[in-house]
């Protein structure tokens, strides 16, 4: 394989490229750019990571995405000509994109860790009660928190042990890195508790989790209470329904924050500020509440470092 002339040629290219990779690849990109007929100027303007005055990029948690998009739609209706791009790429990626400047605002559905807090400023936009969902045909209506823990740790594997039918439980998880999973691990499994069962099905978004549970009578998963549909039933946890009232009253425990994150030391400017302002406004918060989320407590004030 090594003696293959083409491969060794390719290796030379690679070595060469390694030697002055930035320079070479930039020039290649230059050629491609020219061919695409794109003005390099706009490329440079974008390269700074600063949004143009009429555009703001919001990227992150797919759990937050539907709500952020709805708010963006309303916001854009109020402010014709501006564009709010919502990219549902996951909490961690959104946080990272914000750090590197690829996004102006990040969305996270989990609390920031210590490292991240050093770089970024979280803005609490809403609280979300996480619902444990099962198929409507499933006779099980309630789980205790410790049971839930054991279910997702893979210790309880049959609905019979929960008073249901004799059927194996199909666990539906989110994938590592997603805010929902992070929040679930923290709220249900506990810090340093047993890990989530690796055998579970994993899906890439709340919708996907919901879709699996809608289809499979033996499935159980977790999603934001804001995205519940008649196709799934939210189980009570310790006898408490996952409603906003119960959560505000502190009885429903599985509550996670929905955050917007911003780079520290840079107050958001222009459109980003206006958008966040809209989200935190009475009107924006009403939309969120209407969608099944819980309004952000008043004391969560934006960017006052």
């Amino acid at each position: 394989m090594i003696t293959h002339p083409v491969l060794s040629g390719a290796r030379q290219v690679v070595t060469l490229a390694r030697r002055r990779c930035r320079c070479a690849s930039l020039s290649v990109a230059g050629i491609l750019l020219a061919l695409a007929g794109v003005t390099a100027l706009s490329g440079c303007a974008r390269a700074g990571g600063r949004a143009a005055a009429t555009r703001v990029t919001v990227a992150g948690s797919t759990s937050v995405t539907p709500f952020a998009e709805q708010l963006a739609e309303e916001f854009m209706r109020k402010r014709p000509g501006v564009q709010v791009n919502i990219q549902g790429i996951g909490s961690s990626a959104g946080i990272q994109a914000t750090e590197t400047g690829a996004a102006d605002v990040g969305m996270s559905s989990r609390a920031l860790n210590q490292e991240e807090v050093r770089e970024l400023h979280p803005v609490l936009v809403a609280l979300d009660a996480m619902a444990i969902i099962a198929h409507p045909d499933n006779p099980v209506r309630n789980v205790a928190l410790p049971q839930l823990r054991r279910i997702f740790a893979g210790e309880i594997r049959n609905w019979r042990m929960l008073g249901g039918r004799d059927a194996p439980i199909t666990l539906v998880n989110r994938e590592a890195g997603s805010g929902a999973r992070g929040a679930f691990e923290e709220l249900v499994m506990g810090k340093g508790g047993s890990p989530l069962d690796y055998r579970s099905i994993r899906q890439g978004s709340q919708g996907a989790v919901r879709a699996v549970v809608e289809g499979d009578p033996n499935a159980v998963g977790y999603v934001s209470s804001g995205v519940l549909t008649p196709g799934v039933r939210a189980l009570h946890v310790d006898g408490v329904a996952p409603t906003a009232e119960e959560a505000v009253a502190g009885r429903y425990k599985l509550v996670r924050p929905f955050l917007f994150v911003l780079r520290r030391g840079e107050a958001p400017v222009g459109l980003a500020r206006d958008y966040i302002g809209y989200v935190l406004s009475k009107e924006g918060q009403e939309t969120l509440v209407h969608s099944g989320l819980i309004a952000a407590p008043k004391e969560a004030l934006p960017w006052k470092d």
Partner: protein, 287 residues
């Protein structure tokens, strides 16, 4: 006597069984195809109307239409072809008209073959680190189109090369004999004659771009807004379909988008076939 009879009868039985199986396989394949197409069309077409095609999506696509996705698909695909077609045709012309079999051509062919085999998720990863991150183009039509362009390059090169090779050898002699330079020969005789084949390749490449998902999600993003420039992110119909379908946002809209995708694929195929048939017919007439 019996043995001989057996020899004569047995192969016929085997043949009958084998042929029955083969017929079954062929019909099953056609039926699977028909099923997929009809399934999506039957469930999707009732939800397709002019409003679906001409309106913006609302509530993440649960309501409204798919106009931005259509525009995103068209722009992304055109941009990708605009980059890949000159490169691909140029490479094919180089391989066929400007050089003889050598290390260089072998390397280029190897490169094209290797690129053709690279899975789209790898293109997605590459586009993400190279165009989106390293060159700071962000999730944008530009990033997506350049990634796609590399992806469809092998298809264009291969089909263009084949088309060029079918141009009769004597045309070149005549053209040279009449004092054409090589480039004049290529542009006045070879490319016009090979055009239907080349266009077919481009249409196939367009088909691949329209159907691509994995590479685009990571490079052009998933923002469901109307793209305003090459640097805005975009969501193509395939990506929109994927998001609608897997997130269970709206099965109705998913089927409708799927129907549009299938129709587009059909259209692209019919177009490509029509061009090939036409080219063959012209070729036959030429003798």
């Amino acid at each position: 006597m019996t043995a001989e009879k057996q020899v004569r009868v047995w192969p016929r039985v085997v043949q009958r069984i084998a042929f029955a199986l083969i017929w079954t396989a062929a019909l099953a394949t056609l039926m699977v195809l028909a099923f997929i197409v009809l399934y999506v069309l039957r469930l999707g077409l009732p939800h397709v109307d002019w409003r679906f095609l001409s309106r913006y999506p609302e509530a993440m696509g649960r309501e409204g239409g798919i106009l931005p996705a259509i525009v995103g698909t068209v722009v992304l695909t055109l941009a990708a072809v605009a980059v890949a077609a000159p490169l691909g045709i140029g490479a094919a012309v180089f391989l066929t008209e400007y050089t003889w079999e050598s290390r260089v051509t072998r390397a280029v062919r190897f490169g094209a073959e290797a690129l053709a085999g690279v899975p789209s998720i790898i293109y997605g990863l590459f586009g993400f680190i190279f165009f989106v991150t390293y060159l700071r183009m962000g999730w944008s039509i530009l990033s997506g189109a350049l990634t796609l362009a590399i992806m469809i390059l092998p298809t264009i090169i291969r089909t263009a090369e084949e088309a060029i090779l079918t141009v009769p050898r004597p045309y070149r002699d005549v053209s040279f004999g009449l004092g054409a330079t090589r480039w004049q020969m290529v542009t006045s005789v070879v490319l016009p004659t090979a055009l239907p084949g080349i266009v077919t390749g481009i249409i196939l490449a367009i088909g691949r771009s329209v159907g691509e998902t994995a590479a685009i999600i990571f490079t052009a993003g998933t923002a469901l807004t109307m793209p305003t420039s090459l640097l805005s992110p975009a969501r193509t119909m395939s990506v929109h379909f994927f998001v609608l379908a897997i997130e269970g946002i709206s099965l109705e809209k998913a089927y409708a988008t799927g129907a549009i995708l299938i129709l587009t694929t059909l259209l692209i195929n019919v177009l490509a076939n029509w061009l090939v048939v036409n080219a063959v017919r012209r070729h036959a007439r030429r003798g």
